[in-house]
């Protein structure tokens, strides 16, 4: 059937009449040329200099050019529209530029010390001035993985149950709990570290350990996971809950067999966002894990290191080699966090379908 239709209409060519022709683009092209030309002239003949002067002048002249081109081609409304579009593009550019700059700097400085070797050795037999191929960050990497993993184990059940209280039980204290969770997400990370330092290390006379770090991190992770999980659970239609209850299920069976499976990919996203949130936290780690130059696998005894701690310590040593190690640490940390964010995006896209 479809092949017949194709043959019958084979002489009709697909067109895109909404595409802009070069002729229509000509005024815009002239506008761009004029704006760039005016900017260069301004920089030559006035005291405005440098990159900032160039960007400022270009922005100013582009605004005039785009407004007048649109005013000539159409009307005053189109001119206003073009000016607001320009502002939006510039605002987006302002957001993207620092991020791009940070990523570029980290990669260009961190690559010097980057290599497989850093994942094989720790700083136990190295001093800050050791060459880059001696002394890696294995101890810090293991510390980060263990503390973050254990913080996740502590945090996720509490956070998901909190979200379930808010969306399923909808109890009398929902408003209060939601408010406190939101307030918690505004707590500065060093407060979380000081809290564990005061409660666990001083009151219980415990020693520095990875476990203390995990406790501090879980406090920071909790509001992120709980809030995202709440949003995800809210998206599950009430129809499904009613269907479960109408089949003679208790509320807990309905939640555990229907609501949570339906929200699974979203809940995984919530957890990964929480992990990405805490992987780079420095202040609570500095106050709780104590730091170590050797690999320590045991989360519950002896001091531990972690990537943020390693970066901070190497930077404090100063000197070209130690600073270079700090940049490499930042690069590794960035790769880890980016990995988690990418994973989140992939999962949420899957869930969207």
């Amino acid at each position: 059937m479809s092949s017949q239709t194709l043959n019958k209409h084979s002489q009709v060519k697909p067109l895109k009449p909404w595409n802009i022709t070069p002729r229509e683009l000509l005024p815009d092209f002239i506008g761009v040329l004029l704006a760039v030309g005016a900017t260069i002239l301004t920089l030559d003949f006035t005291p405005m200099r440098g990159k900032l002067g160039f960007i400022g002048a270009l922005f100013f002249y582009s605004m005039i050019a785009t407004a007048s081109v649109n005013a000539i081609k159409r009307d005053a409304k189109a001119a206003k529209n073009s000016i607001s579009s320009l502002f939006i593009y510039v605002a987006a550019g302002i957001v993207v530029t620092p991020v791009a700059s940070i990523v570029y700097t980290i990669i260009s400085r961190g690559l010097a010390g980057f290599g497989l070797g850093i994942f094989k050795t720790d700083m136990g037999n190295a001093v800050p001035d050791s060459p880059l191929n001696e002394g890696g960050l294995l101890h810090a990497l293991i510390g980060t993985i263990e503390t973050v993993l254990f913080a996740t184990i502590i945090c996720v059940p509490i956070a998901i149950l909190t979200a379930l209280y808010l969306t399923e039980i909808r109890g009398r204290f929902s408003g209060l709990v939601r408010f406190l969770v939101q307030a918690m997400s505004g707590v500065p990370s060093i407060i979380a570290g000081l809290f564990i330092y005061a409660i666990y290390l001083i009151s219980f006379k415990a020693k520095y350990s990875g476990f203390a770090g995990s406790l501090a991190l879980s406090i920071l992770m909790l509001p992120t996971v709980a809030r995202v999980a709440e949003e995800v659970l809210k998206l599950i239609p009430d129809d499904l809950r009613e269907a479960g209850l109408a089949l003679g299920a208790t509320q807990w069976r309905t939640v555990s067999k229907i609501v949570i499976p339906a929200a699974r990919s979203g809940l995984v996203t919530a957890v990964i966002l929480g992990v990405a949130r805490i992987a780079g936290e420095t202040a609570p780690i500095i106050l709780t894990i104590g730091g170590n130059d050797r690999v320590n696998w045991n989360l519950f005894s002896e001091q531990m290191s972690s990537l943020p701690f390693y970066i901070w310590r190497q930077y404090l040593y100063g000197g070209d080699l130690a600073t270079s190690r700090a940049w490499t640490g930042i690069l590794v940390l960035m790769i880890i966090v980016m990995f988690f964010f990418t994973l989140t995006r992939l999962l949420s896209r899957k869930g969207g379908k």
């Binding site: 129809d239 209850l245 109408a246 089949l247 003679g248 299920a249 229907i258």
Partner: protein, 301 residues
């Protein structure tokens, strides 16, 4: 299939004509409903149970939504609840299996008696009541994380009922819902992959798998196309041989086609009330109350 389609178009035509001529409509409708065969139910292993309500009232917060409804749903009959939007018929349906109480601020009075026992009696296990009184909702709502097979058997899993004859219950429920032939080769696919009408029949199969004695249907066809509607109506007619069905519908032709009894609800700026309940043919041909007559002949609502 072709006979179904011509049947359907006839019914659609009938609907169009009926709007113009009220008398004709009631005649043709009564003929449709009286055409429903009386079936011998002896020997069937699915046995319906009658349901009786006495002076049921319902509130949402301070709003009195439903007043003083007393109805009898005899075993093995189909009862349609009709009436304009907001007349309390869905609220009434939800009081019948205690789904009403999930709405915040909900309250009720009166009694709903199943098999000689008030389901609102203190100490009643609500989950057991809902196993005996199943429900199908307006929008098809198969569980998205489960396959077709898992959806059908989900009621058993949710209520933690141990079963030996899994395959048998699966096939039987799907057959009773009129879906077995269409899905028997794709039981492992997700419920969401079915069409809207098939999804709704899957929901019916899911409700049937726990072997309820009463099935409540809240506008089960309002989100479906005419073809699927017809299939579901056939399903309802089949089900009525074995269990008690209560169906809320906005479609009077549907009420006439599938039900034995019809209850007309109306709210006159106050709580919804049951105006009249009678055999369906009587409601559509010779209603006692002038309000019922005005509604079924399409003069308002």
């Amino acid at each position: 299939m072709s006979t179904n389609e011509s049947d359907l178009s006839a019914k659609i035509n009938q609907k169009g004509d009926s709007a113009k001529n009220a008398t004709d409509q009631s005649k043709s409708l009564s003929s449709v409903s009286s055409a429903r065969k009386v079936v011998d139910r002896t020997g069937s292993k699915f046995v319906g149970t009658g349901l009786t309500t006495k002076n049921v009232h319902a509130w949402f917060g301070k709003k009195h939504a439903l007043a003083d409804v007393s109805m009898d749903f005899a075993s093995g009959t189909v009862t349609a609840l009709i009436g304009p939007s907001g007349c309390g018929k869905s609220t009434f349906l939800r009081t019948l299996n205690r789904m009403h109480e999930f709405i915040p601020g909900a309250a009720m009075a009166g009694s709903v008696v199943l098999d000689g026992k008030d389901i609102y009696e203190a100490g009643t296990d609500v989950t057991k009541i809902r196993l005996r009184i199943g429900m199908v909702f307006q929008k098809p709502n198969p569980f998205p994380s489960m396959s077709i097979e898992e959806n059908v058997l989900s009621g058993l899993k949710l209520a933690q009922i141990k079963i030996q004859n899994r395959e048998q219950i699966l096939q039987e429920s799907l057959e009773r819902a009129g879906l077995w032939k269409e899905v028997k080769d794709r039981l492992g696919e997700f419920g969401g992959s079915l069409s809207g009408g098939q999804q709704q029949r899957l929901c019916i199969a899911r409700a049937l798998a726990v072997n309820p004695e009463v099935l409540l249907m809240d506008e089960p066809c309002s989100a479906l196309d005419p073809g699927s509607t017809l299939k579901i109506e056939e399903t309802i007619s089949e089900l009525a041989k074995t269990i008690t069905v209560v169906i809320v519908t906005h479609n009077m032709q549907q009420a006439a086609r599938v039900s034995d009894y019809t209850g007309f609800f109306l709210s006159d700026n106050g709580p919804g009330e049951l105006i009249e309940v009678a055999p369906t043919s009587q409601i559509f041909s010779n209603p006692k109350d002038p309000k019922t007559e005005a509604y079924v002949t399409g003069r308002f609502g």
